[in-house]
Amino acid sequence: MDTIFDDRHMNTINLSNDVDLDFIKQVVKESGENPSLCYQCGNCTAGCPYSHYFDYPVSQVMRLLQAGQKDTILNSKAIWLCATCETCTTRCPCDIDVAGIMDTLRIIARRENRVSEKDIKLFYDTFLNSMKQFGRIYEVGILLLYNLKSGHLLADAELGPKVMGHGKINFLPTKIKGADKVAQIFNRFQKKAKKHG
């Protein structure tokens, strides 16, 4: 319940000025979903395993979207705490791909450089860098790098011995022959992204 009363008090929303219609259009375009189909039954919030950790439960993210509250949404923790488990999408009575919309919101937030959950983004980035570098995922590397950058030096440290003991992981990364090809995908995408601003 602690999530209910913290930093969630919004000022009066002036519906005639403070509604960002372009933002709604953008989300509709990029996600291919129509938020106005949502009638706020709350099924997504009810099924979401992370509701307790969200600053705004999914159904309210949908509502904020309908109300064009761009800043509140893009600055929210919720969009980053969603793990795309697809429960909301599967059970939405209005057939909205809610998880898809959350995905799109993350993408937009990332593009606009406002990410409320730095650690999660950092983890993702470390993951992607490893991928760009080797073509595959180098688990040890990711963990170490992530801990270094995030400053949680000893996070999950106690797991180290377990993992090693059971010989679960490679100590050295396997670099695939086509690693450069994968890197190419990254580069081409970044070029394209720049071109379209």
């Binding site: 990029e30 395993p49 992370y50 950790y53 705490l81 793990a83 795309t84 488990c85 697809e86 429960t87 999408t89 599967t90 791909d97 998880a99 995905d103 799109t104 993350r106 993408i107 990332r110 959950e117 650690d119 999660i120 983004k121 950092l122 983890f123 993702y124 980035d125 993951f127 992607l128 991928m131 073509g135 595959r136 995922i137 688990e139 963990l143 992530y146 995030s150 996070a155 999950d156 106690e158 797991l159 377990k162 993992v163 059971h166 010989g167 679960k168 992981i169 490679n170 396997t174 695939i176 022959k177 086509g178 690693a179 090809k181 994968v182 190419q184 995908i185 081409r188 995408f189 394209k192």
Partner: protein, 329 residues
């Protein structure tokens, strides 16, 4: 024996933290006479992180691998890791549905992908193509007091539009496969609850609390072992079980095995062959009690004779033992 030859995409986890999945699954597929080839020089599917960057980009990372498989002429790709499978299926779905999307994706690739490959989970291939009967036919061994809670995790069957397999709310493929392998399966209500997935690292507490719920429900269901089909589920439930204990003051000590390992045991493979040593919470106590089907039959007959003599049902006796073994947990 299934006619077609499959592609087999291990994925990064199965090379590392989920080797036992890779090793045991290959063994089981061998027993089931499923013929498969691994595409050479495959790369990471992109998984969740790529999806936070861009839809086209994410699809491209997945499609690169599908393109490689497509070139080899294979039509179906066994994808043991649900996260990879979803990445593939989403790419496939998006590219098949919209030409413009397919173009955008192919622009990022060296080899264009023409949507000719279907990714299937190992479960789906065994359940639909191999078939339950074939699974049962190969069983040689059994573990008398093993009670498994089949845990499918979140994205294996969801969303239905993408997964195209089994029931999104109450999947049964793993239940039936394990049952066919002669294992007692519990009715597990948390089959499809999410374990926290990739958040193990950045959001450890959150994940620990979610896994706590799953583990509790498994015990409540009367299980003494959890079967999984996903490296992340396995990691969060097994590797982090001690974290959960220290966070919640619980004392879980329940093995979390890949369904393929359990099948392997039923097919008489050695623990080494199934890399049983790689799971953190040891399942030795079960491996030790493994007997052949023949022995099991004899034991049962003996028990029934005694029961007749004593005039009490063998079932009651079993039940007592169960409750004991639970208390120990």
């Amino acid at each position: 024996m299934v006619e077609t030859t499959y592609g087999y995409y291990a994925g990064c986890s199965l090379e590392g933290t989920a080797r036992e999945y890779d090793q045991s699954l290959k063994a089981v597929l061998k027993t089931l006479e499923v013929d498969f080839r691994e595409p050479d020089d495959w790369s990471c599917c992109g998984s969740t992180p790529a999806h936070t960057v861009d839809h086209v980009f994410a699809a491209a990372l997945a499609a690169r691998n599908l393109a490689i498989v497509e070139k080899t002429g294979l039509k179906t790709l066994i994808t043991p890791c649900p996260s990879c499978m979803t990445a593939f299926k989403k790419a496939q779905h998006g590219m098949a549905k919209s030409d413009s999307f397919r173009q955008e994706v192919n622009e990022l690739l060296d080899e264009p992908y023409e949507c000719g490959v279907t990714a299937k989970s190992a479960l789906q291939v065994i359940y639909e193509d191999v078939g339950i009967d074939a699974v049962a036919a190969k069983v040689t061994h059994t573990i008398p007091d093993l009670k498994v809670a089949p845990y499918y995790g979140c994205i294996l069957n969801r969303p239905p539009e993408i997964a195209q397999f089994d029931d999104p709310e109450n999947p049964v493929s793993m239940d039936k496969i394990l049952a066919a392998a002669g294992v007692e399966v519990c009715d597990f209500a948390f089959k499809v609850e999410c374990c926290g997935a990739a958040f193990g690292v950045p959001k450890r507490d959150m994940v620990n609390r979610l896994t706590y719920k799953v583990l509790t429900m498994a015990i409540d269901a009367g299980a003494n072992c959890i079967a999984v089909a996903c490296p992340l589920c396995q990691q969060n439930l097994d590797l982090r079980q001690e974290q959960v204990n220290s966070l919640t003051g619980s004392s879980f000590n329940i093995p979390v095995l890949y369904f393929s390992q359990i099948m392997g045991l039923a097919y008489g493979y050695s623990p080494e062959a199934l890399a049983m040593d790689k799971v953190i919470v040891s399942a030795d106590r079960f491996v030790r009690t493994r007997i052949t089907v023949q022995q099991a039959r004899e034991a049962k007959e003996l028990q029934e004779q005694q029961a007749k003599a004593k005039g009490k049902s063998p079932k009651a006796a079993e039940n007592k033992e169960e409750t004991k073994s639970e208390e120990i947990e």
